[in-house]
Each structure stands twice: as C-alpha cells, then as structure tokens.
C-alpha cells in the first residue's frame, strides 16, 4: 500500500494556507472600514474660485440661464478630469428660491453633498444677487 502521509501533509498545508488567507482578508477588510469621503470640503474652495472669477461672476449675474453651462465646464476641468468617479451638478437660483437639484441623479452611490454661495454683484452685472449651489456625489 502506498504511504499517503505526504499527500495528507500537503492537504493540511493547503488548508492552513486557506485559513490564514481568510483571517488576513477579514482583518484587512475590517481595518478598511467603509468611510464615505466628505465631499463638502471639496465644494467650498470650488465656490470660492467661482466667486473670485469675474468672468463667471458676470455671467451668473447677467445671464444666469447660461451660467450653468459655464460652471459645468469649469467643474469638468476641476472634477471630471481629476476624479471621474465623482458626479456633479450645479444650479444658479434666485436668493429666495429653494436651490435643489431638478432631478435625483441615477448614479448616486451614497450621499449627495451640496454647498451654496451668494454672488452678490459684479462690475458689469451691477448689484443683482444670485445663489450658486454645487452638488457632488460619489458615483455608485
């Protein structure tokens, strides 16, 4: 009869490897507890940059209906090119309006973060005020 002890040792080693692999994977996954990134920190400097850009200020005040397009193009250079997994949208509203998204995005993977800022005047547009709201989310 062929001695099977060696084969049994190999099977035992393989089982031990599997056990250790499972333990390491479990530890690894628990150490990386899923914490959603706080995108509100990203919104504030973006709004600040928009507020300091006089061309965009003018457009927001004088042609708010076209400003969405310009701001979306700006956000594309700041977000889409750098972090394609982040979804974004923008709205330009009157101050008294509820500045919410027109429709709920279909690709949201968590929370939607929003930040808004008043653009109160521009040299060309005068003392008209508008509210700019930026919405960010991680794509699901």
């Amino acid at each position: 009869m062929v001695n099977k002890k060696g084969i049994i040792r190999i099977i035992e080693a393989s089982i031990a490897i599997l056990i250790i692999l499972v333990v390491i994977l479990t530890i690894s996954l628990t150490r990386r507890a899923a914490t959603e990134r706080d995108l509100s920190e990203t919104i504030t400097p973006l709004l600040e940059e928009i507020a300091k850009n006089n061309s965009m200020r003018d457009e927001i005040i004088t042609h708010p209906e076209n400003a969405n397009e310009s701001i979306m193009a700006f956000l594309a250079t700041r977000i889409k090119e750098r972090e394609p997994n982040i979804g974004y949208n923008v709205r330009v509203c009157e101050i008294a309006d509820v500045c919410s998204l027109e429709s709920y995005p279909s690709d949201v993977g968590g929370n939607i973060y929003v930040g808004s800022r008043l653009i109160s005047s521009s040299l060309i547009g005068g003392a008209e005020s508008k509210r700019v709201a930026i919405f960010l989310w991680v794509r699901g």
Partner: protein, 229 residues
Amino acid sequence: MEKRGASNIEFILAFMLFAGFLVTILYLYNPTKNLSAMESSRDYVINQIINNASVELDSYSIVITETATGNIQINIEGIDPTKNVGAVDYYGKPMIAIRSGDNICLARSAENFATLYFSEDLDEIMGSCSSPSSISYRIASSITSEVISEKRILLLNNSYYSNYPLLKEQLGIPESVEFSFSLEFPDVETINAERAKPLRGEVFSETKLREVLRKDGSSKFGYLTVQIW
C-alpha cells in the same frame, strides 16, 4: 516497494509551500503597519506644508469712478510697510503697481477696476508708473486671508531636493515616514517634489484645492497634493 523517501519529500514540499506562502504574505502585506496612523501622518504632513507655505494676503478691490485714462494714485492707510504690492485687472491679468508708503501708483490705460494685493512674498515690481493723477476711485471691498505662496512652495521644493532629511526635521515629520508633494495649477504647470516610491506597500495621498499667491503678483487656485509612505 518502499515509499518512505517519497513521503518525506512530500512532507518537505508541504512545509516549503506553507513557509513560502507565509513569507510572500508578510512581504506583500505588513500587518503591523497601522493604517489610521498613516492617515493621521498624511493629514499632519499636508497641514505642515500648508502652514509653512502660507502667507497673509491683503486684497483691495478698487473701482475707478471716473472715465479718465492714465496712471492713478491710490491711497490706502495702515498697510504693513514690509508688504509689497501687486495688482491685477478685472480679468486677473497682472498690472504694474508701485508702492511708496501709503500711496500706490497703478499703471493703467483705461481699466476701471483693479485688485491690489499686499504681501511680504510679493516682489517689488520693476516698471514705470509716472505722473499718477488723482482720478476718483473707491475701495469696493477689502479682505485679509491666508493663502499659499508659490515662492514658499518653490523654497520647500528646493529644500526637498537639496536637503531632504533637514526638511523632514524642520517640518517635524517622523523618520519612518517619507513624503512627496506637488502644487498643480490647472492647465498651466506643476511644481513637483518627488522621490522614488517603494515598489510594494501603500502610498497615502491627499489633495486640497487652495488659493495661491503667484510670483507674478496674481492669485490663482491650485491643487496641493501630498503623498506619504
């Protein structure tokens, strides 16, 4: 037929398989490395770089209320005498401005808006601004903020390549932590301070969008990225 020798070889093979696996796992994955400590170190390093590269910036928006053309004299009292002046027009294009005490001569043609910046990190502008007239103007707004200085980032960049251990010591970064950083201006250029990263192991990265006072006296937003390992 005697198979005892074959059994021993299989036993040794099993042992080698197991030991090889353990060594590979420990090589690729260091269970003793504390991820939260690395994340804290990353936040610490980026804050240290921001603190070391930040400078106070006073900004004044000036609206020229007359339609006249030509250089203009602007008087702003109470500005720190150690701060130099910089100026940009309505669209952010640098203009020549020369400071003499509380008086600033702004070289303009017909622009009716300018932003004046005051900071110790601005270079004194070489240029002419003669015979400024007393055209009427008003200060539309003023703000003092902390911004990153491109000049200081370039100094850090020089120190990074000339004496990396000393820079780490100055920033209070532990010896076991290595770092690199970059400041990227969208569509323009990037200031990089990089060194070879390990082939294995994890690199922790953090990026912040910050206002930067540029060398030419203008202000622009840039991405400051820090990587540690």
